[in-house]
Symmetry: C2
Subunit: 185 residues, 2 copies
Amino acid sequence: MGRWEPDARGRMIKAALDLFAERGFEQTTAGDIAESAGVTERTFFRHFADKREVLFDGSATLERTACEAIRSAPAGLPPLDAALAGMAAGGDLLQERREHAVRRSLIVAATPALKERELLKLASMTEATTEALRERGAPQRDAALAAHSAVTVFSVAFVHWVSTPDAPGFAACVAETAAALRALM
Amino acid sequence: MGRWEPDARGRMIKAALDLFAERGFEQTTAGDIAESAGVTERTFFRHFADKREVLFDGSATLERTACEAIRSAPAGLPPLDAALAGMAAGGDLLQERREHAVRRSLIVAATPALKERELLKLASMTEATTEALRERGAPQRDAALAAHSAVTVFSVAFVHWVSTPDAPGFAACVAETAAALRALM
DNA sequence: CCTGACGATGACAGTGACTGACATCAACAA
DNA sequence: TTGTTGATGTCAGTCACTGTCATCGTCAGG
């Protein structure tokens, strides 16, 4: 055990979520979050590259989970289907902490600066997905298009999943949304 | 005529592009840009909401152009095709200033903070496109999916158009990319 | 038990992005 | 002639973020 209370990182994440929900993102300083978590502002910036990142701690895990699912999908599966399997796997992760995901999404939706960061994370997921599809043999452009489409489905499905109180599983939302997309083409 | 040299805004945009290309975005302060354009830093922030915005002056026009094209598309055209027509119209705008578009895209691609802002602009274009498609009678989810798909095509086509020296027209890139997307489904 | 490397944190000064408030001054209208 | 307007300058202030050095439990080696 260290000299200080353990899990400073977790405390900062929780404090940030609470404060952002109460006063809003802009009205909360990094110092406020740090103080509320019992650390200094400097420590906050040692854990998070910037003030926004404190709300995106799980995004790397989400991306990794999705990519692993894609890599372990049957070799014969077409790129888009493989990518969608990845999105469904990522969705399972959110499903395990639905309440947190919903609360967080409300804050993000209310703050342009956070929306912007979320888009960057989605773009990162798109790039990672593209790479995973390339490893399966898809040509660059097909991989990019399938990845973009899958992430689109993920986003649209997420909005539906969040706004539906008694939601079916996230995977079901993905399947439904994917079907609608195919119908449009 | 005012008390000062005219077109302060245009001078700042040009100065920013030059300085970002020379030293990079982070190594250039807002004060540097202002000084180089012969104004004060305060004036810079009166014209641009933040340092990034100076590189996104044309995005509102691009969005408006695309939406107008969608609204004036034949009523019977399916949502995706109408949206793609909008993207092609937007592409024509870039085509008129290809050199500027390419130079700018290099800077944006090299700077995560600018990439992030670009994603926000694309998201805005997606939302506007969704709304335009809804006005044509498309249900919400179909409109959102078609808009996302069209903007995806726009992005992928743009990368190809930029990286191809003797490019065919932007509209041709859009058509080609759209065909590839349809083939994936 | 002593000791030195290690790792997480605190303390503090500094830069730069951005904002609010007020002053200035050419152009233009009454 | 005078009052208004609009774009700008000036200046002080907050806050995001960084570099640097000091601190002090922990743990391995002696």
